[in-house]
């Protein structure tokens, strides 16, 4: 901070901030009287709310038992005419075991290679897990962990199938979600398929991100 003249812009801005605040009164510690959640603490209620809110923002929501997951995904991909699927590293091989599609493994997966944006643009769909889901807002959060991959994977292909483990990945509220997320990882919060309100403030689904979002609620 004692570098020679002229002062850097950094020093000038900080000096101006300090000068501006010379007579400013001290502020108390912020009060946090708001609610940690708006939902009763009951797993079934929270899951129903997640389901309802995801569907309200035009995600397709499915409840599937664990042993039926491979066949369910296989059918879903076939019904959507999917021929190629991007596969993030760490995705359980079992999930795609009953799917007759070409699987393109991204970097980090055994035998995988870096898929360029152009590669991804030519791929029909992506299947991932998630870090957690928030019921009150109908949100799934991805953090690049196992089975999720880097952010581009869930962005460029037009169809995203995301599997939520309901046993331990669902929270009720935004305040409950943040302590479970690591800010050091790149995070993507997804609430429904991409949308815009830019034309006359009416919501239209489907702009640049995946136009179709399927959320599979995996029930034990």
């Amino acid at each position: 901070m004692s570098s020679p003249t002229p002062p850097s812009s950094r020093e000038r801005i900080l000096a101006r901030v300090r000068e501006a605040l010379t007579d400013a009164p001290e502020t108390p510690e912020p009060t946090r009287d708001y609610l940690p959640t708006h939902t009763i603490d009951d797993a079934a209620t929270v899951l129903d709310l997640l389901h309802e809110n995801l569907a309200d923002y035009r995600a397709f929501v499915h409840r599937v038992a664990d042993d039926e997951l491979p066949s369910f995904i296989g059918t879903l991909l076939a019904e959507n005419g999917v021929r190629t699927v991007a596969v993030p590293p760490g995705l359980s091989a079992r999930w795609l075991a009953a799917s007759e599609v070409e699987q393109l493994l991204d970097e980090g997966a055994p035998g995988g290679a870096v898929l360029t944006p152009y590669d991804l643009d030519a791929i029909d769909a992506v299947v991932t897990s998630c870090a957690l889901a928030i019921a009150e807002t109908g949100t799934i959060v991805l953090d690049g962990g196992p089975g999720q991959g880097r952010r581009a994977l869930t962005l460029v292909p037009d169809l995203h199938i995301c599997v939520v483990r309901t046993r331990d990945q669902v929270v009720a509220s935004v305040p409950q979600s943040l302590p479970r997320l690591d800010p050091g990882r790149p995070l993507t919060w997804i609430s429904g398929p991409s949308a815009t309100s830019d034309i006359e403030l009416d919501r239209v689904e489907g702009v640049h991100g995946p136009r179709t979002l399927h959320v599979v609620l995996l029930c034990p």
């Binding site: 950094r10 581009a152 460029v156 943040l178 790149p186 815009t196 006359e200 640049h208």
Partner: protein, 474 residues
């Protein structure tokens, strides 16, 4: 490219022209009324809205009070995570820094995600001068850019355009910039969105440099947050090799936990959604995911002047949700362009004159572009008392020149415009007496010589503004 705000006529003249444009008025009325009702519903879902609002206000005030500490902390955390922090005192310096960073990459085009800060500093124009093409990728920004137009709303910059006009702009202009609009494009919003998707995709896929703003920066962790709907933000933040984020110094929140408030209040206030479709959070760079280089350009550009004003500094709490625009009877009639700034509506009326000073006619007239009805304060998720700041700024304008001064005339005309538009007043009067703390030391209309005698005013009467005005100006 988007037109310039320089040399804008003062508010009343621009507003007068807007009112004459019936298409514009109909578009605005339709859009603002739609979103108003939806916002009220989204807010009503949360029983603790008032408490969230209070906490948001307090956190922002606390941050501003210790802004120097948090800026230094943010610089440390961003740097530790692999980012590079730059500081810009004004628009020119910010533009020079960004232009230099883009040139260093050897690229001559960038993709941009909507950012008020880059509009404020005129970055696109600066890049263009340096031979760099900046492509706006937000649908509304694309409409504005292709239409050689100016933004008129914070959230929906093309709110003044209806679907038919958008179709015409796409059909005529897209081919000039890249992939043309599909043959036989209709005006259904879904088809228009599809046209934008196709037009922009090639630009995203080849992009090497992305430019963004940020809704929040977390000092504790060095995390930046971008809240969006379309996925164009994710494209710009994820696919390029270099990411440059230009952010005002007031966008800081101290802790990771603080996001739990704003991620509840911002989406409900702006698009009236429980949560916007996409929120991206990143901290510096990550080896195998996203840009390899991340630059954060922190801009002052008048913010420290605003911070120095004990009444006016609350404007820096703003999280740019645009709720105040959507409820404002004056905005609804005058349109965004009349405010002569990238920040229109009530927030613009208090922010622009503080960021830029009140030496131009447009900036001197802005504090008068209001009926002081208080609807903006009622909806503001960080409880900015916009009427209080307006009255305070009116005093400042009144103090800066003698009777008959050019700026005073502009100001008094703005007030006159409001009075000539009973609709702009009537809608406001319902809440007029609810606005507190309106204690102008001097009367707000500086041009009317008969009462500019510096006498102190009694407390703001409980009667509506129009009656108060009529009584006091004669």
């Amino acid at each position: 490219m988007s037109g310039t705000f320089v040399g804008m006529p003062a508010f009343p003249k621009a507003a007068h022209e807007a009112v004459g444009n019936t298409t514009l008025r109909a578009n605005l009325r339709h859009a603002t009324h739609t979103i108003r009702d939806k916002r009220a519903k989204a807010v009503a879902e949360l029983d603790d809205w008032a408490l969230l609002r209070e906490a948001g206000k307090q956190i922002k005030d606390h941050t501003l009070r210790h802004l120097d500490t948090y800026l230094v902390q943010l610089e440390e955390t961003v740097t530790a995570a692999g980012g590079t922090v730059h500081w810009a005192t004004d628009a020119d310096e910010a533009n020079r820094i960004v232009t230099h960073l883009v040139k260093e990459t050897g690229e001559c085009e960038v993709v941009k995600v909507k950012s008020m800060a880059t509009q404020e500093i005129g970055l696109n124009e600066a890049l263009e001068e340096a031979g760099i093409a900046a492509y706006e990728t937000d649908l509304a920004e694309l409409i504005v850019q292709l239409g050689h137009d100016r933004p008129s709303h914070i959230l929906v910059p093309a709110i003044h355009r209806n679907r038919g006009e958008i179709r015409d702009i796409f059909t005529k202009e897209m081919g000039e910039w890249g992939r043309p609009a599909p043959e036989g494009l209709t005006d259904t919003p879904a088809e228009l969105a599809e046209a934008a998707r196709l037009h922009l995709r090639e630009k995203f896929l080849r992009a090497k440099v992305g430019i963004s703003g940020a809704n929040f920066m977390v000092a504790e962790t060095g995390t930046l947050v971008v809240v969006e709907s379309e996925g164009n933000g994710r494209m710009c933040l994820t696919l390029p090799e270099t990411l440059i984020s230009v952010v005002g110094i007031e966008k800081i929140v101290p802790t990771w936990r603080d996001l739990e408030i704003f991620l509840q209040t911002l989406p409900r206030s702006s698009t009236a959604e429980r949560m916007n479709p996409y929120t991206s959070m990143w901290t510096g760079t990550t080896d195998t995911d996203g840009p390899r280089a991340f630059h954060l350009v922190l801009i002052d550009n008048g913010r420290t002047d605003t911070l120095a004003d004990e009444v006016g500094r609350q404007a820096l709490r703003c999280i740019r949700c645009s709720a105040c625009l959507n409820v404002c009877p004056v905005y609804e009639r005058a349109g965004g362009h009349a405010y002569g700034s990238v920040y229109p509506g009530p927030i613009g009326a208090i922010l622009s004159p503080q960021l830029r000073g009140t030496t131009s006619e447009i900036d001197a007239s802005l504090p008068y572009a209001s009926s002081l009805c208080g609807a903006c304060y009622e909806v503001c998720p960080v409880a900015i008392d916009i009427p209080e700041v307006l009255v305070h700024l009116r005093e400042k304008v009144a103090d800066q020149g003698g009777p008959g001064h050019r700026l005073e005339r502009a100001a008094i005309k703005a007030a006159g415009w409001i009075l000539d538009h009973p609709g702009a007043l009537a809608a406001g009067e319902r809440v007029a007496s609810r606005t507190r703390k309106l204690h102008p030391k001097k009367l707000p209309g500086p041009g009317a010589g008969q009462w500019t005698n510096s006498r102190d005013l009694p407390q703001m009467p409980a009667e509506p503004f129009r009656d108060w005005w009529k009584k006091n100006r004669t």
